[in-house]
Point group: C2
Chain length 162, copies 2
Amino acid sequence: MIEVEIEMVRLDPDAKTPIVILREKEGKSRRILPIWIGLFEAIAIVTEIDQQTPIRPMTHDLLKSVIDNLGAEVISVLVSDLREDTFYAEINLRQSDGKVIKIDSRPSDAIALSLRAKAPIYVSEEVMAISGISQAIVDSTPEDHLKAILDNLKPEDFGDKV
Amino acid sequence: MIEVEIEMVRLDPDAKTPIVILREKEGKSRRILPIWIGLFEAIAIVTEIDQQTPIRPMTHDLLKSVIDNLGAEVISVLVSDLREDTFYAEINLRQSDGKVIKIDSRPSDAIALSLRAKAPIYVSEEVMAISGISQAIVDSTPEDHLKAILDNLKPEDFGDKV
């Protein structure tokens, strides 16, 4: 498992859908992984990054509140798989009795929750090997590294909107 | 507490925001209660009413899955209060040890969850007294009862988008 952080959330200019860009936290290469997500989930991620506090709990705040109130804890989230152009994720919860359970999730929901729970985000080695973009490629476009690369990406290159 | 059911979800033609219309399940008057909600939450309600099964779990499906996996159960949801033009709701969960807990929520999230959990929706007597519209008023516009009434409603009459 590779720990990642959120590099940015941006709008894909062609597909008009948001992309969350994850980046390896450690290591020389620090590959990036773009994942197309829904607009609502992008908002849920950005509002938390910007530390905006909504007057009433939004859906991912409610999700966090339910987990807290049931005595559980988000340990981590993992972008675990890529099958038929769709990324899969899992949310790892520790129950009040100490038992750890995995919940199937879209990456976008898992990431929005991880931010609220201050839990680390991981990507499986396999997913990063298939869909990660190395720093060498990023560096080879000196003008505006990420922008140039991302503008040439298509959702179908890396997995469908999830 | 008054048990209600979802009468319809429709788009407010002026404000361009969705409204969920709840209706008293029993009794002579069968008042209706319109609540303005967000677009995403409206989609989450409509997809469940239409029994559409998404390929991957949407956010409210994930919320239900988390509750199930933590051994809890949605007993009911309640539109409990209306303060400063905002409706408040609570989700009543029964934990695995039998303890019942209340979670603060927006009505839209509570309703979207209640449909997935097949749990009843209630409105407090107080909220229905303030914001409910009686069947007599609905009936006084015979042509197209609800449409005529709703087209004259403004969000500020009944509570803000929640």
